[in-house]
């Protein structure tokens, strides 16, 4: 038991969700929202394409690692939110991920939830943010 906890802590320290600007906790909580809404917009994508797209759209502020992306994709597929289709590219197989109907619903509701949350956070932080020292 102890060993497992220590392992988890170690994993988090090893930058599971490598990202240049935001804390792991923030990224971890929003990764699903990011991936699902990207797929809702783009239709079907393969893994590498997803990482590149996120990187470009955020000016490199969010960089998904393989260690974060593929486990998530596999889980979302197991949950029935994504489906895959395979295509042969030369000597290898490329797996395209696309939203199922329930994945689409989930994408919409997660995006709406996050936008609402971000509005609330903004309001909260604006009300309570530290005033510059000359106001004191």
């Amino acid at each position: 038991m102890h060993k497992k906890i220590r392992y988890n802590v170690w994993m988090h320290k090893k930058l599971m969700y490598v990202c240049l600007m935001y804390s792991n906790e923030l990224i971890k909580g929003t990764l699903k929202t990011i991936v699902l809404s990207l797929l809702a917009k783009k239709g079907r994508m393969y893994g590498y394409e997803i990482t590149q797209h996120v990187k470009e759209e955020t000016d490199g502020k969010i960089q998904l690692t393989e260690g974060a992306l593929y486990p998530l994709l596999h889980r979302l597929e197991a949950e029935g939110l994504l489906e895959t289709e395979k295509e042969n590219i030369g000597k290898r197989v490329r797996k395209y991920y696309r939203l199922t109907e329930s994945g689409n619903n989930q994408a919409t509701s997660l995006a709406a939830e996050f936008q609402e949350f971000s509005k609330t956070m903004n309001r909260l932080l604006n009300n309570f943010s530290l005033k510059p020292s000359y106001y004191v």
Partner: protein
């Protein structure tokens, strides 16, 4: 656009398997990912070897094995959640059943007893 040849793809595939990726679907994902990443870097003028090394570095200190470990943990977590939901609903059903049987006992239990008492009395009188 550069495309890796058969030999190079086989080399990368062997590398992924060698580093402990047992799961077939994950192997396909990672193989395509690594190949695409190498091809893009070769488009920018890098050699195959340099691009390969650079791509592997991006997997971080835990390497490929960590990707598999994380996938495994996420999927078991999901199964455990499903087990929790199942045992919760079984618990609910059982407690409703117990509650209803207690209520039934209170409502009809006495009547049954008093009926048998009446019958006993009747028998007594006859004898």
């Amino acid at each position: 656009m550069s495309e890796l040849n058969e030999q190079q793809v086989a080399l990368i595939s062997a590398y992924i398997k060698q580093h402990g990726i047992a799961q077939n679907t994950l192997h396909d994902d990672l193989l395509d990912h690594v190949c695409t990443s190498i091809e893009r870097q070769m488009d920018e003028g890098k050699s195959f070897e340099a691009a390969f090394e650079q791509t592997i570095k991006l997997f971080g200190p835990g390497g490929l094995k960590q990707v598999q470990q994380q996938t495994f943990e996420l999927l078991t977590e999901m199964n455990e959640n499903m087990k929790k939901v199942a045992s919760f609903s079984i618990g609910i059903v059982l407690s409703i059943y117990t509650f209803l049987s207690i209520v039934a006992l209170f409502l009809f239990g006495r009547n049954v007893n008093s009926d048998t008492n009446v019958l006993k009395n009747v028998n007594f009188e006859i004898s």
